[in-house]
Symmetry: C2
Subunit: 227 residues, 2 copies
Amino acid sequence: MSTLADENHDPADDRLLTDQLFDQLSEAIVTGTFAPGSKLSEPRLAAQYGVSRGPIREAIRRLEERKLVTSAPRQGVRVVVPTPEDALELFTIREVLEGLAARHAADNATDAEIEDLRTMLAGHRQALSKPDAMVYWQATANSDFHFMVARIGRNQHLFNLLCGEYYTLFRLYRMRHRIVPGRAQRALAEHERIVEAIADRDAELSELLMRRHIASARTGLINQATA
Amino acid sequence: MSTLADENHDPADDRLLTDQLFDQLSEAIVTGTFAPGSKLSEPRLAAQYGVSRGPIREAIRRLEERKLVTSAPRQGVRVVVPTPEDALELFTIREVLEGLAARHAADNATDAEIEDLRTMLAGHRQALSKPDAMVYWQATANSDFHFMVARIGRNQHLFNLLCGEYYTLFRLYRMRHRIVPGRAQRALAEHERIVEAIADRDAELSELLMRRHIASARTGLINQATA
DNA sequence: AACGTCAATTCTGTCGACAGATTTGAGCGT
DNA sequence: ACGCTCAAATCTGTCGACAGAATTGACGTT
């Protein structure tokens, strides 16, 4: 049951307990292993992961800072309950940030990076033709694309914000969104247009298209939530 | 010397040690009490604040999550060293986020809120005419304005991001920026134009003016850094 | 006088313990 | 059966302790 302190003591497994716990707890929250609104008891978690409460508490502080849990003094910590309002707010923020990333990507991309983007999208298109394991693929491919654009934008803080600090939260809110049939095709087509704008070094168009792309995802999310 | 655990035990002082430490450490970092790049030793801090290492560590994790310190495993934690590149990145992000806040403020402001904005700016203008304690006032007034616009925007996550999570980091980077003579007047005039755009419910203009306003601050910051 | 070595010191990562607050639930009255 | 009271169980906030790693600094060598 416990997977951290016992048995496996690889030499490469030098990561701090807090970091491992943070990752595992984040994942458990996003995938729903810890249900929204459920309480996270420190002693229970400590026993479950085979560690003491110290590292657990530090990991929880980071989860709190990232809005994955809410904490009331002396009442413990609860998994955040994602509301449609929160999702709307978050995607509105993401819209301008991803737009900014796309703009900078157009300004800064090297020829090699543009080639990389095109190669990646070609792979995505091919994967899309075979309908097996597509649900999983869409999420991965989508992340890959946004990840790459953010990296090419060359704003380290923006990258960390989109692909690190807020990424898990975005995932959590996107989770409740079952894939709409045809959305994958449409998303890929949007990705391809964005890449062409970046290849043209058209910063303004890149930003506009990326914003529309996120807005489109947001609309799907909201419709889903209110349905 | 110690100000947390000993002597003062007000009943209202029920805040958790971790929270108090987080605030005090944040302030100490922003004001330069802990120099950039200097190491934060846990036992030293614990002794200094009269608490044990547990709460100190939790506070440090939060500082780390907010990029106020950097931590290398088994080598301790150091105060972040603000580079001009970081400042540029941060203000670029802030530009689109504040622009978003201004746009939403124009969309959502009530008549009463617009009145509040005008009253506040009138107060700022009056304060500006007397030149005493102006340096302090500029920072406060500036924060008040951006705080209020973000609140009126009614995006809780955006508000938290601008006025909470990233606020201290922005302050840290703005700290090295000595007030340019005349900048206060210019900033106030820009604030007034933004408020008029919000009063007109002109979302697009509000966003544009707010972006320019931040960009103007950013330019001053960069020139300062490279001078 | 500069350099490398090795021991003393300090520090980090982690654990277990305790007091007071909070939640749970058993028992009682209606 | 239903709600209230109070005791048992649990949990949070905080502390102190220990092992192993990292840093410091003294010492001897060249």
